[in-house]
Symmetry: C2
Subunit: 195 residues, 2 copies
DNA sequence: CTGTTAACAAACTAAGTGGTCAGTTTTGAA
DNA sequence: TTCAAAACTGACCACTTAGTTTGTTAACAG
């Protein structure tokens, strides 16, 4: 069962949902169709279970959990993005940010799945905002910073760079991105008081 | 012929390439399959012609041409992104950035098409870098700015925010994004000389 | 009027697609 | 040992896919 979902997510991530047939998955697993439809109502049902069981966890462990804590959110987020992109650089099987890819694929096509995906996006957003607000409260961020806006900007840039990284020269893309991310962070960090 | 390609791009953009059948396009055009395959070798050939004839032009007119000129690139890029996102906000048929969507869809699946798409990305990148360098030369940007890195950062953030905008509250996403884009720009613009 | 050709129509093929179902094996408790 | 429920098989169904083939117009040069 776990094996089913893991393989499913791998294939869906690599080939896309609509371009991965149930037969594809079953062939890789050497399983029969009957077994599959015994466990799942439909391909869509299968995918939704994957979202809830695997995708949500994956996003949490790579993008949310690392930014929790009471340290400087700038440091935490920088490290978090750096790590996430580093695995992408070193993983030849990188097809961009899973979440962003699926958002693109299902947009305007499957409302049910979109709701599940957007839920994960919202969780990420809320956690980012919270981390930033906490950072502001603790004096790491300038007190004029718009945390909601900053979160949107950070999410955008991360989604986008992961898309760009798949094309060519991911390592250099990562380096350039990180340098400008730091530049942005420098502009919202707490200014030293000239007393 | 023009009608064929225009309708094709509309459908490919809205539903994705793999989820749009030749029959879909022909049904909307009230045309026969014979006519289609008289003009095009294959579905892929059809799409590649669309990329070259329509997509490249669309990217040029919305993202490249507006940033050409000798004004402050910060102003130009800000206005350009603002306009591009504004049409997205007001267009109920918005499915994100066409280029970014296709990059996601074809990544790892069709190398030929990927090459064509990446060509467009490169053109955009080169023009962005040029605009920034010119801005640096003309004293609009701080002379320590890494123009390549800045271009990557700008492209990433734009791709990403267009993906996010399709989910919910595009207008508010736009507003938040633009505010932080300005914040970023403020951090790379030429510092006033304290003489 | 004739023959040629560009432009299309429509029926067709072969290979998939998601999904079903009658039947078989495996498991585990009584 | 029994037997029912759970787990699984693989052939099958209706349908869709990209692409082909054969046939029909319409225009037009000679």
């Amino acid at each position: 069962m776990q094996r089913l979902q893991t393989t499913g997510l791998e294939l869906f991530y690599a080939q896309g949902y609509y371009d991965t047939s149930v037969d594809d998955i079953l062939k890789k697993l050497e399983l029969s169709k009957g077994a599959f439809y015994y466990h799942f109502d439909s391909k869509e049902d299968f995918f939704i279970q994957i979202i809830q069981n695997l995708l949500a966890r994956k996003i949490y462990s790579t993008l949310i959990e690392p930014i929790e804590g009471h340290d400087n959110p700038i440091t935490l987020i920088t490290k978090c993005f750096d790590n996430a992109m580093e695995t992408a650089v070193h993983n030849e099987m990188d097809y961009g940010c899973i979440l962003s890819n699926f958002l693109t694929e299902f947009n305007g096509k499957n409302e049910v799945i979109m709701r599940h995906l957007n839920e994960i996006v919202t969780v990420w957003e809320v956690n980012l905002i919270t981390a930033l607000q906490k950072g502001k409260f603790n004096g790491y961020l300038d007190r004029h910073v718009d945390c909601e806006a900053s979160a949107t900007f950070l999410m955008s840039s991360y989604f986008g760079v992961r898309t760009l990284m798949t094309s060519a020269a991911p390592a250099s893309k990562k380096y350039r991105f990180m340098s400008q991310l730091r530049q942005y962070f420098k502009s919202i960090e707490a200014k030293p008081v000239n007393s």
